[in-house]
């Protein structure tokens, strides 16, 4: 297994944000992390990124424990994109990619920046300040930053939130294309069920800090007797018996 999560727990005061969750992600697979707001998705991602210290449990990445191994060496192989965090607004797109490329120790940085900007079609606003971009442009730049180091693990938190269907489709298609050409393991947190069905090999459903179901999309839909993932999500999110 490439990522192993064992009994991962995060307790804030008396509240369990994440409560003894365990799951594995195989190398080069895409796993969806689903659940209603406040179910512990962001906290789980925060722990995987080393931003939040777990109260209990282990995160093992490629047989290395995130808590005890050299954190920086593991972080060099991980990256993250979310519309809820931003790149410095007063720096141009090119400057931001250069700064983050250097922070991640990317070799042949100029050629990598050119390659990723061509792929994501961001060259036309390369010299614009990041703060002046539209949501769709910002999302593409954020994705470019998250791929600048060719990460082996990519964590995506609602990568297409608040985007119009055209840009959303562009991002999803790009992720599919990127995954087919590169060795990358993806954990995707999303509220867009079509996106999850399209991108994920399997999904993990969370509620109130616990995992309440897991499997492929079709397995989960079938298990709960629903027609699609959206209906299944609603059933699981609203049910009081699933914990």
């Amino acid at each position: 297994m490439y990522i192993q999560i064992k009994n991962l727990t995060k307790k804030f005061k008396n509240n369990f944000a994440v409560n003894k969750i365990s799951f594995d992600i195989e190398k080069n697979k895409t796993v969806g992390l689903l659940g209603p707001n406040g179910c512990g998705k962001t906290t789980s991602i925060g722990m995987l990124l080393g931003l939040i210290e777990p109260s209990e449990g282990e995160i093992i990445i490629n047989n290395k424990n995130l808590q005890s191994y050299k954190r920086n060496e593991l972080l060099a192989e991980i990256n993250f994109a979310s519309p809820y965090i931003e790149l410095p607004k007063k720096l141009t797109v090119k400057q931001n990619l250069e700064v983050y490329g250097r922070l991640y120790g990317v070799e042949n940085l100029n050629s990598r920046i050119n390659e990723i900007s061509a792929d994501l079609d961001i060259k036309s606003f390369f010299e614009k300040n990041t703060g002046e971009l539209s949501s769709g442009q910002k999302n593409r730049v954020s994705l470019a930053k998250s791929l600048i180091n060719k990460p082996k693990i990519l964590l995506l938190d609602e990568p297409t939130a608040s985007l119009d269907p055209d840009i959303g489709d562009f991002i999803r298609s790009y992720i599919q294309e990127y995954r087919s050409k590169n060795q990358v393991t993806i954990l995707l947190a999303s509220h867009n069920m079509n996106e999850v069905e399209r991108l994920c090999n399997s999904i993990i459903m969370m509620k109130e800090g616990k995992i309440i179901d897991r499997g492929t999309c079709s397995q989960i839909i079938k298990r709960h007797g629903r027609n699609n993932l959206e209906e299944t999500f609603l059933k699981l999110a609203r049910s009081k018996d699933e914990l």
Binding site: K10, F12, A17, T42, T43, G46, L49, G50, L51, I52, E53, R71, N72, E73, L75, A76, I78, N79, F80, S82, Y84, I85, E86, L87, P88, K89, K90, L91, T92, Q95, E98, V99, Y100, R102, L103, Y104, G105, N129, G131, K145
Partner: protein
């Protein structure tokens, strides 16, 4: 330490300054206003009273040195606050960069920000008021080092507060240096303070730095033991600042506040 990463973070702040003329202007504006203000006040005192004769150089040199301390600390805080304001905190802390590299980068970049403000102001003081801080000679370098280390230490403590309490701690960032100003004996000798405050003031490197500055300018004597004491105290404060910063960072990871810190 990876110097490429230290450079990368420095580059982020250099780009920020170079992209914005108002930012450069802001860096130069306040030190220059300080020089004008204190220059004219000192000149008035000198001309109006025998008691204050020949104090213009002392007061203005003190104003320039205090501004150097102020700029060093504010520069460090500003760079940290920029990350919060731009909601870039998560990106920064998930990058493979060590805390020691972040501190080193901010410390080095703060020098540049400080000098951008201070050099024009110091040069202006020569033709306008006939005062040059370079009259302090070689000890000036040591006094600046002591001031800089203490300024960065305060910056580290404020940054620790920002990590602990979030952006609401911002106001403290601006107020922190004014808290030390009365105890620092910048414009007056330590004997002016009540005895109890003198004891506290002696625990700050500022007293030793500004006492030594007056000693050089008034008595034309250099007391290196005072300078060594000031630098040593600043180093101790710096180490203390680094420890507190690391504790705050660890606490922020425990509380999970790094992931969504922003305006």
């Amino acid at each position: 330490m990876n110097f490429n990463k230290i450079y990368a973070l420095g580059l982020r702040h250099l780009y920020l300054i170079s992209n914005s003329f108002p930012r450069v202007l802001d860096l130069i504006y306040w030190p220059t206003v300080q020089i004008f203000l204190w220059g004219f006040i000192s000149k008035f005192f000198t001309l109006s009273s025998d008691y204050y004769s020949n104090t213009i150089g002392i007061i203005l040199t003190a104003a320039i040195l205090y501004d150097f301390l102020f700029r060093a600390s504010i520069s460090f805080n500003m760079m940290f606050l920029e990350e919060i304001w731009s909601r870039n905190f998560t990106n920064l802390f998930i990058a493979p960069i060590k805390i020691s590299e972040i501190i080193t980068s901010l410390t080095i970049t703060a020098v540049l920000r400080t000098l951008i403000g201070l050099i024009p102001a110091s040069i202006l003081a020569v033709p306008l008021f006939g005062v040059s801080i370079f009259e302090l000679g070689l000890p000036l370098l040591f006094l600046l080092i002591a001031l800089y280390l203490f300024g960065i230490s305060l910056g580290l403590l404020v940054a620790s507060g920002l990590l602990r309490f979030g952006p609401s701690f911002e106001n403290i960032a601006w107020a922190s240096l004014f808290f030390f100003a009365p105890l620092g004996c910048i414009y007056y000798p330590i004997e002016i303070l009540p005895y109890a405050l003198q004891i506290i003031a002696k625990g700050l490197p500022l007293v030793h730095i500004f006492e030594e500055m007056r000693n050089i300018l008034i008595n034309d004597l250099i007391n290196y033991s005072d300078i060594i004491k000031a630098i040593s105290m600043s180093i101790v404060y710096f180490i203390f600042g680094v420890i507190i910063f690391n504790i705050s960072y660890s606490g922020a990871r425990q509380r999970g506040t790094l992931i969504n810190m922003g305006e």
